[in-house]
Symmetry: C2
Subunit: 449 residues, 2 copies
């Protein structure tokens, strides 16, 4: 790892060069690099926490002046219970994942002594732009090395001291491994983001780790593909045939278990027939957990009997923009719809193509919903909060993508690979093949791999 305060262009070119070497390292060499990073960080704990304390002191002052949010200060703190240990364990977890590189997914005999293979390989050079969490460096460096990708890291200025301390430790650790020095670079140049985003010749993929605003800004300012999602506007469609009690539990889970998460539900669509049956119990359970319901006229009317028993402020009138807003808080927009098709149309028009769920006992209706909703995750009787790489069993998560190409939904290590086609032949001229007279037919025989 190297610390770069030179030009972003030079950083990208150096990363490209290093990527070729990194891409051809065997699994063992990449895993040994992760072990080296782990050991070095463990040994340097005190120095790194001291650097982090200096960042924290500045941040706390800025927060006291109102220049920085308290949430950001909290995210900055590497000394918080379990955070340091989790960071170190994360490196070992990534090391132990299956190698995503060098996997064959196709082998075809085109002709005798002419074999085509499709083999997974790293994408090349990643640019990771993140905000205050200093532990992201170790996480991203691990993911990049494991998947054979070079990476340029650009962190928020609030954590500069922590970043520099961590990257110096990683740098000396990697110096004793086969991973080239420029393969992982930390860019500390101020205001380098726009210049980095313009390096589309030498950077293949941008991964933002931070707020919606950060992601949206990045998507608007680069031609490099961006892996991630700006918005997480997830919906649940509650039908009259949903299980009354279980539905209440699942909606509460989807809304309240981590309201600031991208996979929390933001809009509850209620079938009109469910207004008098399933909905009141769900509404009462939500209100009891402190959720504020932004109701349309029909759903509000449906709660009139319940109203006296609800906590004060539990209901408000919805305005149109509520259905296009990712509240990221205990506010839930509620809208009444007549049919599954109306629910689908609403979700496809107002949602963010992240994760949407239908609660129903009608299997055909559920399949119709899952086939027609254009989202990365389409669920039947399941909480939207399941949308997560760990929960899906991927071991780690690079991010959650709402892109329509490459990787969609929670992205594991595989999302950092592409493939190349290899052909091993015997100098056959292509002109000899074809269907006419005197031509040789292609064999196109699928081989085992």
């Amino acid at each position: 790892m190297s610390l770069t305060n030179g030009s972003p262009e030079a950083a990208a070119a150096a990363a490209r060069d290093a990527s070729f070497t990194l891409a051809s390292l065997p699994t063992s060499a990449r895993n040994e690099a992760l072990d080296a990073i782990h050991a070095a960080l463990a040994a340097a704990k005190d120095d790194i926490l001291a650097a982090n304390a200096r960042d924290l002191e500045l941040a706390r002052k800025a927060a006291a002046d109102g220049a920085l949010s308290q949430a950001l200060v909290s995210r900055l703190d590497l000394g918080k219970k379990g955070k340091w240990e989790d960071m170190l364990q994360g490196i070992l977890d990534v090391r132990d994942l299956e190698d995503p590189v060098g996997k064959t997914s196709l082998r075809t005999k085109l002709d005798d002594d002419l074999i085509l293979e499709r083999v997974s390989c790293p994408i090349g050079v990643l640019l990771i732009i993140f905000e205050a969490r200093p532990e992201v460096i170790a996480n991203i460096a691990s993911l990049a090395i494991k998947s054979g990708n070079a990476a340029i890291l650009k962190g928020g200025k609030e954590s500069t001291e922590s970043f520099v301390a961590i990257s110096q430790v990683i740098s000396s650790a990697l110096a004793k491994t086969q991973v080239p020095n420029s393969a992982i670079q930390l860019v500390t140049t101020r205001d380098a983001i726009l210049q980095l985003l313009s390096q589309d010749r030498n950077i293949d993929l941008v991964i933002p780790r931070g707020s919606n605003e950060l992601v949206r800004y990045i998507k608007e300012h680069t031609k490099i593909p961006v892996l991630g999602h700006a918005d997480g506007l997830c919906s649940i469609y509650l039908t009259a045939t949903a299980d009354k009690h279980k539905a209440a539990v699942a909606v509460v889970d989807a809304k309240t278990s981590y309201p600031a998460a991208c996979n929390s539900v933001e809009t509850l669509l209620v079938q009109d027939k469910a207004l008098g049956t399933v909905f009141p119990g769900v509404a009462a359970a939500l209100a009891e957990k402190g959720v504020t319901l932004r109701l349309d006229a029909a759903s509000k009317a449906a709660l009139s009997e319940l109203l006296p028993s609800l906590p004060e402020g539990a209901i408000q009138d919805a305005v149109p923009q509520d259905y296009d807003t990712e509240h990221l808080s205990l506010t839930l927009a509620v809208k009444t719809v007549a049919s599954v098709d109306e629910a689908i149309a609403h979700i496809n028009a107002h949602g963010s193509h992240h994760t949407d769920s239908i609660f129903t006992s009608d299997g055909a209706e559920a399949e119709h919903f899952m086939n027609r909703v254009d989202s990365a995750g389409v669920y039947w009787n399941a909480s939207t909060r399941l949308a997560d790489g760990m929960r899906y069993g991927f071991g780690t998560e690079v991010g959650i993508s709402t892109n329509k190409i490459h990787s969609r939904g929670p992205v594991g290590l595989d999302g950092l690979t592409i493939y190349k086609y290899k052909i091993r032949g015997d100098y056959q001229p292509t002109t000899q093949y074809g269907e006419g007279e005197g031509k040789r037919p292609w064999k196109h025989e699928r081989l085992a791999f």
Copy 2:
């Protein structure tokens, strides 16, 4: 199919709406639509060829005035031997390919009654921009319908009459099928390309079918992912251990079998040790086929003895830009390198990441080359002309991609799909899972599919 001369924005929105219906049609309904198109085109042959003749007449006049190239006129001609039949057969070929939609690639039991599935689905809305070949409409409409994607087609103005005739026939044919009318739209509005390229909300992927200039223009003017390649600068590295006679045959194939193709070789890198052994025979074979060699000093010197026997004009001195030029003609740049690593560095710096080959009898050297060359196709003792969807056995080809994400190399129907994650559950709250006391562990059990 509808013919749109309204706003590109409205066309894109209508295509998005139609895409949801198209995406949920079963295989049979999509195949029946292809049958209907095939039958209707066959029945309307005379009318379409008459419309094509009107395009041709105008084009021939323009060509006579020097306003249009003769090559373009030739590409326009649907009446050319075999073209019409190939177009019709192509529709049936696509129909008979395996359905790329609805394929399950992962099934995991997260818990009892909580099953995760990853299922392939269409990308959504494609924008296909093409130049003079009118048969592309039928080809693209087939690929889009087969893969369940809506498509907006924008053709070159030279073939307007042919496009309109074909699209009217396709339109009436589709009217009797389950494919919605707006699923395939032909935009005839003049100068609509820039507006279409700005519809990133409702268009998911752009596929250019035409010249390098067209592709480069499109890549520079849109935020929508573009599937394709602007350049095809392929190289062959000829080592001293290559088979002398076979190498000559394969280089001649790679250069002369279709010089205007993107997978033809443009640069021959010659190991210095091969200059006096393998290279002269290769050079003589190329010269005999009319190839002009642009030589560096060392390779020129190596041919001094051979020179009197070469046809006039067979050799020229190379200038630096020859190694960055896709000649698309019988011109081949030749450069001497000392080692495989120098060849790899040259290719990664000057090539277009399309297809590159090494000719050697040393297996370890070949693997080193294939692992380190950053191209969609990396070959050992094989002609670069193999880079083609038909030749790879994909049945059809959407294009050849030099992108680093999603699809790389020749792209078959699979390249027009992405996947969604489906979960079928029983309302389980996510808060119950985890590793602490009283928590329920994830099962993460791989299931068959």
